[in-house]
């Protein structure tokens, strides 16, 4: 049952991601991206990463994409896109991205190598994290526990990055006063 669900959701994810890239209509692209995010969340659920799945829907599908759709509708970015491939930047970016993808897949499978298969650690309901390190669990509480103990530094750095981005936006969008 889980296998069938995985194939269904994986297929929807890939197809909607592809449609998002090739769709000439910006709104169609945005809708495909929402579908892609939601099905990715479904894949997280199949991996029993419920917290990640909910956050994926809440943040990306629910908030970020609403903003995207808002901007698309407000600016009406439905211009003619027939000469898209003549644009050198777009062409260069596409080729670079595709090359990187080929290198990634090649390095994962070529030369007898394969993707690492880590054994699933036992699920513990309420970890204390003292002594024996932090075990892998699916509950939101242990997620937060490891985030605020073992991964405190990356967490703080991410927060700092977001703060920097926020201040940057305020500086860029601030209107200059008359006398300056």
């Amino acid at each position: 049952m889980t296998d069938i669900l995985f194939y269904i959701f994986a297929a929807i994810t890939l197809i909607s991601a592809l449609l998002m890239v090739v769709s000439p209509n910006a709104v169609n692209g945005a809708i495909c991206m929402i579908i892609c995010f939601v099905t990715t969340a479904a894949l997280f659920v199949l991996l029993e990463a419920y917290f990640l799945a909910v956050i994926q829907v809440l943040v990306y599908a629910g908030a970020v994409m609403v903003l995207f759709l808002f901007i698309i509708m407000l600016l009406d970015v439905n211009k003619d896109t027939s000469d898209l491939l003549k644009d050198k930047m777009t062409l260069g970016a596409s080729i670079t991205g595709f090359t990187l993808l080929v290198i990634l897949i090649g390095s994962a499978f070529a030369g007898g190598q394969h993707l690492p298969e880590t054994a699933l650690l036992p699920v513990i309901e309420n970890p204390t994290g003292e002594g024996a390190g932090i075990p892998f669990t699916t509950s939101a509480k242990s997620f937060g526990y490891s985030l605020f103990t073992k991964y405190m530094l990356p967490f703080q750095v991410t927060g700092f990055l977001l703060l920097a981005a926020m201040i940057g936006v305020i500086v860029v969008s601030k209107k200059h006063s008359e006398n300056s």
Binding site: I55, V57, G62, A63, V66, F70, M73, A140, K141
Partner: protein
């Protein structure tokens, strides 16, 4: 018989889900009636009192009473929506035009999967919630799924391909982004208090209700409750926040181009959101199925206790729905820029301050009580 036994674990959840959807849709149609009756009462009118079903309406005294209360009106309204001619205007984007009402209604119906509506005491004497799916992320799931509901309004506005619905859609998306933030921040202190170290509930709504057995959160987190309530009104697009469909400046808002059953779906979706919002507020701040502050559960276990808990919870939800309707017919609509400045300049700083204040209190409490 064997086949029945084997398929029962798969059939029962479907039966439960269908039962819950029927009850919920029934509540939706009767809250439409409640809206019409309460509004007419507030405005000194009579409201719907003529619709009479053939057999039921002609029982001597009861029939007249039910007809006068308008009990049969929702059936007439529903049938009217069903049998009207389905018109699709020529200038719309047909696919999204058809999709939008479904997208508006589906999230509201999906969120009730994690909504607990009562409690029972199992054979081991442990209190369990009555809920379709008991997950420890209940609150986050409700926030996540209901945040998808705005796409119905945005898509309807865009697909209609005309000016006023489009403006309605834009307004709805901006409003949704603004108030979601304050809503989430207002909820954080609640769960920080409810999920004390060592409790096994996490972010489940059942845990939030169980933590209110002595004192309702409404009483000792009044600021959170107020911010959440205001954000709830904004998220459900109800007056005084119905920017998306304010009929005085946008004709009919995002559903101007919609008619018949597709409009009916939007209509039902609005009331579904109101009912879900009321239930959420009751669970989080009004003690859920706990009887009174300080007197949590006077009914004991058994079937009667379970039914009383469900009944008491439902009564509170009805009171909240009445509050929603009462507000709608009492307050005038905000201007659009007022809505934005209320969200960003008042509610958001208040919610952040409330969060910081509660964090400090919890830290002090933890330091001095250990």
């Amino acid at each position: 018989m064997e086949l029945l036994d084997a398929s029962l674990p798969y059939l029962l959840p479907i039966v439960y889900a269908l039962a819950m959807i029927s009850v919920f849709m029934g509540l939706c149609s009767y809250s439409v009636l409640a809206e019409r009756k309460v509004s007419s009462w507030i405005q000194g009118r009579v409201g719907p009192n003529r619709t009479r079903l053939p057999l039921l309406g002609h029982i001597p005294i009861l029939g007249n009473l039910l007809t006068g209360l308008g009990i049969f009106q929702p059936a007439a309204d529903g049938l009217k929506f069903l049998f009207k001619e389905e018109i699709v205007p020529g200038h719309v984007n047909k696919f999204y035009y058809m999709l939008a009402p479904v997208v508006a209604l589906a999230p509201a119906l999906t969120t009730m999967v994690v909504l607990p509506f009562g409690r029972y005491i199992d054979v081991d004497g442990v209190t369990q919630p009555l809920v379709l799916a008991d997950v420890d992320l209940g609150m986050l799931i409700i926030l996540g799924i209901s945040s998808l509901g705005v796409y119905g309004i945005v898509l309807a506005g865009w697909a209609s391909n005309s000016k006023y619905p489009f403006l309605g859609g834009i307004r709805a998306s901006a409003q949704m982004i603004s108030y979601e933030l304050a809503m989430g921040l207002a909820l954080l202190p609640v769960f920080m208090w409810a999920a004390t170290p060592g409790s096994e509930y996490g972010m489940s709504l059942f845990g939030a209700v169980q933590s209110q057995q002595t004192l309702w959160l409404f009483i000792w987190q009044p600021l959170s409750a107020l911010i959440f309530l205001v954000a709830l009104f904004a998220e459900t697009n109800r007056l005084p926040f119905d920017m998306a469909e304010s009929e005085t400046d946008l004709v009919g808002g995002f559903h101007t181009e919609y008619g018949c059953f597709k409009f009916g779906l939007f209509f039902v979706a609005e009331y579904a959101h109101v009912i879900m919002g009321s239930a959420l507020f009751v669970l989080l701040f009004l003690g859920g199925w706990n009887f009174l502050p300080g007197l949590a559960d006077p009914w004991g276990g058994g079937l009667i206790g379970t039914l009383m808990s469900v009944g008491w919870f439902t009564a509170k939800v009805f009171a909240m729905i009445f509050f929603f309707i009462w507000m709608r017919w009492t307050l005038p609509r905000f201007r659009y820029d007022q809505v934005m400045s209320l969200g960003w300049k008042i509610l958001l700083p208040l919610a952040v301050g409330n969060l910081v204040f509660n964090t400090i209190i919890i830290a002090l409490y933890d330091t001095f009580t250990r």
